[in-house]
Symmetry: C2
Subunit: 322 residues, 2 copies
């Protein structure tokens, strides 16, 4: 790779493309792919306010088996409190401590074997978090864990409140790939997720009431308003019919929901051989309208559905339910 970059440096502005070799999902070891890490005396996980010299990462995180990430800090705090209750763990969770409290970039909570972290909105924001999370799990020597993104999304041809477990994460051109720019060179990465985890989640949904779930493709855009065809942004140069035509095309390629993080999440998990799934609820049906005017309490209940589904998965894996 290094030599390829060197060879390509002269044609940086030609947007040279290079596809990395496929890596099968491996277990149980996490595959950090950075030879420089071995030579570093200390690794400061800057956006977490954690480090290998200042914190005993294996002691703090070595027992992690499930990592759940989502956009909103409040939601990931609520999820930590919810999973504490679901796993019937001892202690009071009202004053649960944010492990990243020294920074406001991300929030992180640990509840038994479950880590809950916020990632903000969009590919760049989740990408920074994932780099530092993967290094954290590597330094902590975690093995045999599963990573979930639990989030919200716009639905395409689904009833609002439906949970979508992602089959393929696709970009705004409906391609199952993520283009990562490395030093001005475009690298194409696969966004294939682990189908075993997805099927297990679908089975879990069938054992629950009130968590309607489908497996479908998830489109990830780098922009909310113009990228997803919302008619109510500050800039909008397209008609309602343009929007509907784009959404119909998306639907016909298998897209069932739209959000802003799934492609890089899938690509980085695949590159590091991490078993992972994307589980997002649809807050509205994009074929019907754009303004999110659903009552607050209904939206809150919708947002709990991915949490309920993943909690059920975790309890089954831990043998707490049959």
């Amino acid at each position: 790779m290094s030599s390829i970059l060197l060879n390509c440096m002269g044609t940086v502005t030609d947007h040279s493309e290079y596809s990395e070799p496929e890596v099968p999902f491996k277990n149980p070891q996490i595959h950090v792919k950075n030879p420089h890490l071995d030579t570093m005396e200390e690794d400061i996980l800057y956006h977490f306010n954690l480090g290998t010299k200042t914190h005993n990462l294996p002691e703090m995180f070595g027992d992690i088996k499930f990592v759940c990430v989502g956009g909103s800090a409040n939601r990931m705090k609520s999820f930590a409190q919810f999973i504490h209750q679901e796993l019937a763990l001892p202690g009071n969770m009202d004053n649960i401590t944010d492990i990243c409290e020294g920074t406001d970039r991300y929030s992180m909570y640990k509840v038994g074997p479950v880590l809950s972290i916020s990632h903000g909105m969009g590919v760049p924001s989740i990408s920074i978090m994932l780099h530092e999370l993967i290094k954290l799990l590597h330094h902590a020597r975690c093995i045999d864990f599963t990573l979930f993104r639990i989030g919200t999304s716009g639905g395409v041809g689904l009833e609002p409140g439906t949970v979508v477990v992602t089959d393929k994460a696709v970009d705004c051109f409906f391609r199952a790939q993520f283009e990562q720019v490395v030093l001005g060179i475009v690298i194409t990465r696969s966004t294939e997720l682990d189908m075993g985890v997805s099927k297990e989640l679908l089975q879990c949904s069938s054992e629950l009431d009130g968590v309607p779930t489908v497996i479908g493709n998830t489109m990830c855009t780098s922009d909310f308003y113009e990228g997803q065809g919302w008619l109510d942004g500050a800039l909008c140069s397209f008609s309602t019919e343009d929007k509907l035509e784009y959404l119909r095309k998306a639907y016909n390629t298998g897209v069932r929901n739209i959000e802003m993080e799934s492609t890089v999440f899938a690509a980085m998990c695949r590159a590091c051989a991490i078993k992972a799934a994307v589980v997002c609820v649809t807050l509205l049906s994009r074929f019907d309208g754009d303004q999110i005017s659903t009552p607050h309490d209904v939206l809150v209940e919708y947002q709990q559905r991915p949490q309920v589904l993943v909690a059920h998965f975790i309890k089954k894996r831990l043998g707490l339910i049959a």
Copy 2:
């Protein structure tokens, strides 16, 4: 534009490109460019938890003359408290209220004629905020205001702590443009900023001690670790020499700092005819190393420099200093 999109819908995956016509900087009216807004009974600014029916936006925001945005919610709260003190306004700012407290996506504080808002990390996150901010200022009928992004960045060939006022915001291929995907079609937008505001900021810096400031190009990447050539990510396929060569190329095209929001900020401000500037301090020199190990108090002082500079600009504009 609508017809162009319609014509192009059949070739969505060909990445058709279309450059929008240039818009000169206008004053004082903000140019929201969305004909659908006029037909909407209510506009819910979802990620701010504000709306035209639930809030009297002209009364709440009509007197705004300066809008300052930055990544971190804590920093933008501190900035609000700092500007309150600098403008010698009455009242106690210890318990300043977050106007967006009903959501944790962004934080917003108003201090006299100054609005301070956080935007999270990366182009998608700031883009959502800007769409809703521009609509907010439009609904509030704000006129004659200036918009600043005050942030942090990596330096290229500068002493750490230097403030860079952005000349051109460039992408990772050193092009002064922003590619916006609209319904699967790539639209290229100019990232030209208002040079009058930038020169006024440079003049302000010469009147201050301890705020070393230069005007230079700012490179905006969609990724922190691999995109900016950090050697300490979870994935790193390049050598130290590859990294330095890329940074040298950037330097030779006029790049003096690297961050993750400036291109879309500049492009959207230009599209809506808003006078705006990007003012970021460099926390480290990327030619020297990657880990941010500078003492916390030094970093905090660095981060205050763009705030001090913009506060001086505001005080001069308000006639509080000569």
